[in-house]
């Protein structure tokens, strides 16, 4: 952020302001694998809270903490709810078995 500020000729506090303002930007290093479960209303109506609960139980901090489970407010694909995201890949009509299968493939679990 200091480098960006120097490059743009603005205080790094302003860079910090912009960097922490957007949901797509993060100032901390993410886990190697992130599972995001949508808990928007469309997904809730299709059982996403239960999916979130089970995914947290079975996969959060799995593989020595390399997998993190997060909640997202909407995946914008409400018509194939519930939806989940493994890193950059979305899974529609997701089940805990889908997520476990993908996790097994990608990690040493």
């Amino acid at each position: 952020m200091e480098v960006a500020g120097w490059h743009l000729g603005i205080p790094s506090s302003e860079v910090y302001g912009a960097a922490t303002s957007y949901t797509e930007l993060s100032t901390s290093e993410p886990a190697s694998h992130v599972i995001k479960i949508c808990t928007g209303l469309g997904c809730r109506a299709n059982g996403s809270l239960e999916l979130l609960e089970r995914t947290k139980q079975e996969l959060d901090s799995a593989d020595d903490g390399n997998v993190a489970v997060e909640e997202v407010p909407c995946g914008y694909m409400c018509a194939v709810a519930p939806v989940a995201k493994w890193d950059h890949e979305w899974i529609g009509r997701a089940t805990i078995d889908d997520l476990k299968a993908i996790a097994r493939e990608a990690t040493s679990i």
């Binding site: 303002s21 957007y22 797509e24 209303l41 809730r44 299709n46 909407c74 409400c78 018509a79 194939v80």
Partner: protein, 528 residues
């Protein structure tokens, strides 16, 4: 007399017809790949089809037709016009679809367009979004040719006469916006196409960008011409990668064909189109925040006035239109304002694209005339609640709006308020909740979303939205008191009255609708 633009378009169409002739005696296999259907395997199906396709057929990857409940879908059309549709296709079905001229009947499905009125979505899921030829042969860019042959004022008059209003949620008359930017003296002006679509429960702009990118571009070009703009920016959500890919392809094709750039279709009009990506956040779709985002600042709204049509992007007059609004424009120019105004209700002309989701048998994207009732949308097009269960409520218009009970389903969709408690159509999200969902928990989730997404610029919104969530939490956990209801009521009013942008002004919406329609339940919780 034929105009320059019309002659240039006719020439483009003639060469497109020649190229299409190469396919005329082949079987057309359409596989519908959108961001949702890809998440349920449509891209895998497309790959499998491509690897096995016989010489007598050709594969076309389109956007989706909106029947998301049946995705992934494949449509096979033989040279004689016979058509078979396959639903819920998996890679292992591909051989059977290709082999038999393809009729494993259990995968055939009904016509999803019944009960719809498709103007904006017409062709979505049918024609190749990455082919300018297919759009031209479907009548594309004839609205632009017609507009370019007219003086700019005439184009604005036509759009005013059509009654077209903004489809992003505010429903401001489109023609008036263009006129206001056009009249404001300035050396240059901008048009920003708002495809941010960061509202939970809405996915129609992505659907349109993936299925019909050229229609949005055509509408944008007409708007830009009418408003005296020579630079268009298309602002696309950070997560919408497939939309961006298809929009970019469409822009490049249009530029190569002389539809974008210097001397558009030989008319003497010059225009450039640039794609920009967002960086996430509900408030970014708010028009002045979007401008700040494009300039690299924090995602915060600006004080109005000055309005963007006076001082917008880089301080210049700027028209900001939603993608769906612009996609309604070509048909107005091609077929006339009167034809457009025939559809819809007295209060509002045209159609609305609805993002339909929740506990429904047939969730998806549908287009209906303004004035259609929520009951027709939820039970007619949406197929009713899964398993015939009871409906608990319908969340309409996202986190800035509210939840309507079953008894309000006869309400007809219209711009502005659907109910005085603050429920509005917004960008057209309809989420049906069944009896398994606690409506008040749903209200809390909307309120929590507003609290998380508040940008923090206006103190009442920054501090007030979390307080609303706290009060709801006390009520839902059984620790509530009658004072919490008063606090909710007061906060909703103050936050609404003292915030700069739409997010804050409408943040009390879910609370107000809950107090109005589910007041008894809340009162019961308040007694503890």
């Amino acid at each position: 007399m034929t105009s320059h633009a019309q002659r240039a378009l006719d020439a483009l169409k003639a060469s497109a017809t020649q190229r299409a002739a190469a396919h005329s005696d082949m079987t057309r296999i359409v596989v519908q790949v959108g961001h949702c259907s890809a998440a349920v395997g449509a891209d895998q199906v497309a790959k499998a089809l491509a690897s096995q396709v016989p010489d007598s057929s050709y594969i076309v990857t389109t956007g989706c037709d909106g029947a998301c409940y049946d995705a992934p879908r494949v449509v096979v059309t033989s040279p004689d016009g016979a058509r078979s549709t396959f639903s819920g296709v998996k890679t292992e079905h591909v051989g059977r679809i290709l082999g038999s001229g393809g009729l494993p009947t259990q995968y055939e499905s009904a016509d999803p367009y019944v009960g719809q009125h498709r103007i904006v979505l017409d062709g979505c899921g049918e024609i190749d979004p990455t082919s300018l030829d297919e759009y031209l042969l479907a009548g594309g860019y004839s609205g632009l040719a017609s507009a370019l042959a007219k003086p700019q004022e005439k184009v604005i008059d036509e759009v005013k006469a059509s009654g077209l209003r903004g489809r992003g949620g505010a429903y401001f008359p489109a023609g008036m916006k263009w006129e206001s930017a056009r009249k404001f003296p300035s050396p240059d002006r901008y048009l920003v196409v708002n495809c941010e679509e960061g509202e939970p429960g809405i996915f129609k702009d992505r659907h349109l960008m993936e299925g019909m990118p050229h229609r949005i571009i055509e509408g944008a070009l007409i708007a830009a011409y009418a408003a005296g703009v020579h630079s268009i920016y298309i602002y696309i959500n950070a997560e919408a990668d497939l939309s961006t890919e298809r929009m970019k392809q469409a822009v490049d094709q249009a530029a190569r064909a002389g539809i974008i750039g210097e001397d558009v279709l030989g008319s003497g009009y010059n225009v450039s189109v640039t794609l920009r990506r967002g960086a996430g956040g509900y408030v970014c779709g708010e028009e002045t925040t979007l401008l700040n985002t494009m300039e690299g600042d924090r995602r915060e709204p600006r004080l109005r006035p000055p309005f963007p049509t006076e001082a917008g992007l880089f301080g210049r007059p700027t028209v900001i239109n939603n993608a769906e609004t612009l996609a309604s424009v070509p048909v107005i120019m091609a077929h006339g304002a009167a034809a457009f105004a025939e559809t819809g209700s007295e209060k509002a002309t045209g159609t609305k694209v609805i993002s339909l989701s929740g506990a429904l048998e047939r969730p998806g994207v549908v287009e209906v005339p303004m004035g259609t009732t929520l009951r027709e949308i939820v039970f007619g097009l949406g197929g009713g609640i899964i398993g015939g269960k009871a409906i608990a409520g319908v969340a309409v218009g996202g986190p800035s709006s509210g939840i309507l009970p079953d008894s309000m389903l006869e309400t007809a969709i219209a711009p502005g308020m659907l109910h005085e408690s603050g429920v509005m159509l917004g960008a057209g999200g309809v989420i049906a909740l069944d009896e398994n969902v606690d409506v008040l928990e749903a209200v809390r989730s909307l309120a929590k979303y507003n609290a998380d997404e508040s940008c923090g610029k206006c103190t009442p919104c920054r501090e007030g939205t979390p307080r609303m969530v706290d009060a709801l939490d006390r009520l839902l956990s059984g620790a509530g008191s009658p004072g919490d209801l008063d606090e909710l009521r007061g906060l909703a009013e103050v936050v609404g009255a003292a915030s700069l942008c739409g997010l804050g002004q409408a943040a009390g919406g879910p609370i107000n609708s809950a107090l109005h329609f589910f007041g008894d339940e809340l009162a019961a919780l308040a007694k503890g």
